[in-house]
Amino acid sequence: MSSRVEDYASHLNQETIDSVRGASALKVTSRQVALKAVFVDADEARANAAEIKNYVLDNLSKLLLELEANCEKNGIQVHWAKDAAAANRIILDLCRKASPEGGTIAKAKSMATEEIHLNKHLEEAGYQPVETDLGEFVVQIDGDTPSHIVTPIIHKNRRQIAESFKREGLGEYSEVPEILAMQAREYLRQKFKDAKIGISGVNFGIAATGRLVLVENEGNSRLSTTAPPIHIALMGIEKILPEERDLALFIPLLAGSATGQTVTSYTHLISGPRNNNLDGPEEVHLVLLDNGRTRVLNGRYREILRCIRCGACMNVCPVYRQSSGHAYGHVYGGPIGAVLVPAMEGVEKFGDLAKASSLCGACEEVCPVKIPLPDMLLKLRDDAYRAKLNKDGIPWGPFAFGATHPGAWRMGLKMLPMASKLPHPLKKGWTESREAPGREGRDFRRWWHDRS
């Protein structure tokens, strides 16, 4: 049984593969350098981080209530969203209250808002959400979708971006990254001034202090969360950390794993709305998003909720490198997507994603919270098989019969040279791009028999 990832990758152009593969490979190297610079033992740091996240998952209800209470103490208004529809409704209601006549919304990069397709809902209601992260901005003007959770335009090269900017009238054609960044900056500056509302995600919500932590490199999150009068933050319920001291571990781990930095250029600890001074928004809202996470928490894939969305598993994944995030048909691609998406939305719809892996385990090796991704891919395959979603797969019954009957096994092996001359669907898949193996040299069993 194949998958949508294979189908997509089979039709992907070489230019895109080169972009994805090149950028991914660079980040694999920079990740190693950054983690080595910060941690005496990066593996131990990863193990500690996994333990803290396990504690969070084990005490999630308690910590969420603690976060809510402390946020409200700080003046952050907390809202609970059971699913994507509820989150969109809550955010739209807040927007309508703040700016009933529509208008510009400054958006900081957030995968949670991608997950609930917030922009579509805002646009349909007459608002103009503007993505202010450079990568997300390119995605938006191209009518594209992110192909990576950290670097959304990993599938594009600078020539393509330059063409998009020229088409949108952002300035003279240039392939120089600094010039392109300046063009976007000039365009976006006005948007920040116009925006009535700013919307962001949250990297970590601190239960003990009720502060929202955001990390970024462009400064656009700072503007999105402070310039407009209203700031709305959307956060998956698993993104909690118990205390602020945990940031000492998680921020360098996230920065190193995601972008190969020892620390991000900006780290925001948002303590609430403006407080008797001129800076900051008048209102801060936190929308806590479940959207299937509670179900995952109580099931076979609980550990996937440790994820801090660094994308390291995508960068190192050989399948992702040949296919891009778009191949997965969901906002979350790569190994994290191949587990998270079927775990949240069901194997019936997304079980094929778990098949799109050689189970090499490179993802687990780099995961900052040590999620056993390959084991989870195997469990998803088990789930899909038991749900009888594998009808066109290889029938394993005859193989299992042979492998449990040594006489039949030996007979089968003897007949193999003959059988391998016959056409077989397995053989066709193999020989399309490779030569078939022949029996080379001596047969082991005969050799063993002859010498003893």
């Binding site: 294979e6 593969i17 040949q322 195997l378 088990d382 092996l413 193999w430 080379e440 001596r442």
Partner: protein, 262 residues
Amino acid sequence: MWQEFRTNPRTAGRCEQSPPSGIIEPNVPRVRLFLTCLCDAFFGEVGIATVKCLEHAGCEVEFVESQTCCGQPPFNAGDWADARRVATHCRTALLETKLPVVAPSSSCTAMVRHGFPMLFEGTEHENAFELAEFLVHEVGLQAWPAKKEYKRKIALHRACHGRALGLTNEQELLLQCIPGVELIPFNHPEQCCGFGGAFSVNHKNLSANIGLEKLHQILESGAEEIVGGDMGCLMHLDGLIQRNKMPLTVRHFAEILAEVIE
């Protein structure tokens, strides 16, 4: 018994000691060969080489004729019911022994050590070893006692299932002191070859493209031969090499170890 000889070498990269010579003192009297189905079906020479390596390391090797497969193909496909049937046979026929069970494959060994506990909760088979892991950690070899040279520029491909076993530089340790062997570094060594069992046929394009990327990196390094510890990877890479007529050969490390002691 054999656990007493466990060592923990942390030397990697260069040959730092003079290679030992002659037969090693037999401190591991008896081991059981886990042939693996690929060597049973196609690559008998690798099985033969494995026996020779183990015997040269001072072990007496026994072979259980009723062994078949570990059950990894149906396990990876999600058919855990059939995988359990095959795995049960493997446990009964091969693993229910106090003897170390040694396979020329990290993939099959990982199935036993890591996969079986997923199929049968609460079980463990700590007596299953990959060949290089066994020679280095159990026998205690720090280098291979070669009698002959093997003059070749080698790209050592680390099979991914070694990750599940916690393997590090065992194969490198054994190869690097053989006279004539030149281990050539290549870019992105952590990347998979793209084989992945049934993945190689149900995701044939991805599998081939991942393999070709690996082969390009190795060709660029100037290596002549790809050496690995899993016939799955090597069979896939060799199929691609032949189809694309690349100037590369593949070999299991056991074949080299066996060749230089004859």
